[in-house]
């Protein structure tokens, strides 16, 4: 029985068609996967379903009749429960209160604690959870908090449950527990929508799948039993897209590495990491979300403590204090994955965004920065990277994602760095800009930069990297020399990622 349908839903943002005629149907007693790369429109679709966004076209049907939700509260009242990516618990409250927050039981005008306890216990028991409803939520582990959120989503008697990347921040063991809960929900006749990046989980627990790409559904309610992993991946990344042809580029293996890590452990939990990047080389760092790749980059920049091992730059052992130190004394740049919060100053001009790293070099007596020299440098990199702007005074926040990313990269090029750590450069960027970016990174390496490329986008990795280092659980799993053959490479890399699990 079809419980819920989103039919040909459109959602427009200024300049972007975030959803383009997407259809999604959820059956009772079934787990439906929603897949797609970052920026494909998964979050937008969920926000439309839960009433955070109003659709610009199409309709939502619940039990066959059309519904329109003005707020998340209304969708919840109609029986659609959501577990969001962000933690959505109130820190000072107990587990029970959080579960029943949408409608706290009262007696004689006062919140009825006994009723909260008993009712919350009921929902916790329904999920076979052994959590005390009187416990403050701040004492819960991440996984427990996640399960409490599911109980909260259920507490509005929801028959449709949306789980938005519930396993992103929990360990495999905890995930298994979560899957048992999902199974139970399914057997109770609820419709579950499961959003995840991890294909093995999707194949493990889901029955049907909808795949989004660039805002449209490329597969609607396909039976997972009839699909292979490769087919799903092809749908997600769109293999029809022609591979980029890049000029040949060779790495001189005899040159000493610019950046070298040996036996590095960090306070975040990395253990025994070995890594080397030569001038002109692109080393890819691949792994699932949570493998600790960005954290390793940040530890290299002095943002986290290195507890053991040695980092050598140009052959000399160094201890980097902070980004400033990395930039000034070691010529290392870091293009962050979190463009909007860490990469670009949205409310400042493009000019300042690019020049931020070179003021040190340009400044004269009393810190005076000559405007001419500054704007000349900015103009040079705007041109070199093909950043499309009306004027350098334009605010960076008004640029498209791709141009913002170029700005975020430009500041490191302007600073004349020799080692560049590039973290997820093309997340949320359209395909054409992506190609331009790949060419750019390729050219940088050809010009002699040592590049450490962190990406979760396997095709991107295989297009660019000379070698792929695979990480899992804060350790290096192994290394694959890239021969740019997609099928063979992806198999090798995926096998390497799951090597440990096969053993365990």
């Amino acid at each position: 029985m079809t419980l819920f349908v989103a039919e040909r839903v459109d959602k427009l943002f200024p300049g972007v068609r975030a959803l383009d005629g997407v259809t999604l149907a959820l059956e009772a007693g079934s787990v439906h996967a929603l897949l797609g790369e970052n920026g494909a429109g998964k979050s937008t679709l969920i926000k439309v379903i839960t009433g955070l966004y109003r659709p610009d076209g199409g309709k939502l049907l619940l039990d066959g009749s059309e519904v329109a939700f003005g707020s998340p509260h209304e969708s919840a009242a109609a029986g659609i429960g959501v577990v969001h990516q962000e933690r959505n618990l109130i820190p000072g409250f107990t587990v029970g209160e959080n579960i029943l927050l949408q409608k706290l039981p009262t007696s004689r005008g006062l919140v009825d604690r006994a009723a909260i306890r008993s009712e919350a216990s009921r929902w916790l028991a329904e999920l076979d959870l052994d959590i005390d409803p009187d416990q403050p939520v701040t004492e819960l582990s991440v996984a427990q908090a996640q399960l409490v959120e599911i109980a909260k989503a259920l507490s509005v008697e929801s028959r449709v449950l949306l789980l938005d990347e519930p396993t992103a921040s929990i360990t495999p063991n905890e995930a298994d527990r979560l899957f048992r809960v999902v199974d139970k929900l399914k057997n109770d006749g609820r419709a579950v929508l499961f959003v995840s990046h991890k294909l093995e989980e999707v194949f493990q627990i889901c029955d049907t799948v909808t795949v989004l790409r660039d805002g449209s559904s490329v597969l609607e309610s396909g039976a997972l039993a009839d699909l292979t992993r490769d087919q799903v991946v092809d749908l997600m990344v769109g293999r029809v897209h022609e591979a980029l042809s890049l000029p040949p580029r060779t790495v001189d293996r005899s040159v000493d590495p610019l950046l070298e890590l040996s036996g590095v452990s960090t306070a975040t939990g990395h253990a025994d990491i070995d890594l080397a990047v030569r001038p002109g080389e692109i080393v890819g760092l691949y792994g699932l979300v949570g493998a600790g790749r960005s954290e390793l980059a940040k530890a290299l920049l002095g943002l986290d403590r290195i507890t053991a091992g040695e980092v050598r730059i140009r052959g000399r052992a160094v201890r980097i204090k902070n980004v400033r130190d990395a930039l000034r004394n070691h010529k290392i740049g870091y293009v962050t994955e979190n463009r909007k919060e860490e990469g670009v100053f949205l409310e400042q001009s493009v000019s300042r965004n690019i020049a931020v790293t070179i003021w040190d070099r340009l400044s004269k007596l009393l810190g005076y920065v000559p405007a001419k020299a500054e704007s000349a440098l900015v103009a040079r990199y705007v041109e070199q990277l093909g950043i499309r702007i009306a004027s350098p005074a334009q605010l960076a926040g008004t640029l498209s994602g791709g141009n913002q990313q170029k700005v975020s990269l430009a500041k490191w090029l302007a600073a004349q760095t020799e080692i560049l750590i590039i973290d997820e450069p093309t997340v949320g960027i359209d395909v054409r800009t992506k190609d331009a970016f790949h060419t750019l990174i390729w050219d940088l390496a050809a010009n002699g930069l040592a590049i450490l490329l962190i990406t979760s986008d396997l095709p991107e990795m295989i297009t660019l990297a000379d070698r792929v280092v695979v990480m899992r659980d804060h350790r290096v799993q192994g290394e694959v020399a890239n021969d740019h053959d997609y099928d063979r490479m992806s198999q090798q890399v995926i096998r390497l990622i799951h090597a440990e699990r096969a053993v365990a």
Partner: protein, 331 residues
Amino acid sequence: MRRFVKTTEMTLLVICVVFFVFLVIASGGDLVGANSLKVLLQFLAVPILIGLAQMVVLAVGQLNLAVGAVGGFAAVAMGVMMADHGVPVPLALLIGFVLASLAGLANGLLVVLTRINGFIVTLATMTVLLGVQYRLVGTRTVDAYPQGLKSFGSYAVFGVLPLIFLVALLVAGLLSVMLRRTVPGRQLLASGGNPIAARLSGISNDRSVVLAHTLSGAILGVAAILTVASSPGVNKSIGGDWLLPSFAAPIIGGALLTGGSAVVLGTVLAAFIVRFVDTARAEFSLEPSWVNFVVGTVVLGSVVLGQVRTRRQSRRTVVKAPDAAVAGRVS
């Protein structure tokens, strides 16, 4: 969270008791005399209330710079109504209370409707109300209001427990019940603790912000009533020195400036401690300025400690970045 707040309040309680014992010994036992105790508690009523008035807006993640101005304006309005216009006492007090609540309501509505920073809104209303207060009373001191009110202000149960102190405790009790046990109170705290989650649960953050400011105004209305009843007269300087203590009490009491914490007991205990500092100052006949100096130092110290504590706590549990979560488990 609750256990942690409990320990903060426990610490404060211990400090209070130790401090009190110290004062009793230092005064050679004079302090436990009925009259000294009465005076001690008499001057606690208003500080408790202004601390609570600030605490309730901090709980929703806002602040109120207009505490002194609202209180002073209401107090002066009551005094002028009774003394100059012969308005009966209960009616005048009621009108003053309503005016203070309305001022709080106006703060809340302005914040919500204009989306201007609450700091600026209450700075503006503070300025306006200070002007109104002055216009009402000028340079006079109004004291010609009925004796009955003044005897209410100085009456003490068993000669020890001042009535106004009991009123302040009653307000604290009501506020505590309101924040802990009623739906609007819980929603207010939810808005302060995690506004996004609150919104997703169908709670109107707008309403919580307006409610918090209105409650703040109402509490200040009571503070104004107690001020009128217990002081020899009201003038333009009433409320002028309320701002700093209003922040001191909740901050020492363990309130999080980011919102979401209801520390009624902590605020009350902190008001006690500040009062003890003042008593000690008088005991050793030091300059009144010492009180501010000491309280400033204590506030700074407790915030720094609080920060260290929350940092440690957030490292332990609140995990936002997915990678960090796994990392925490591995290490």
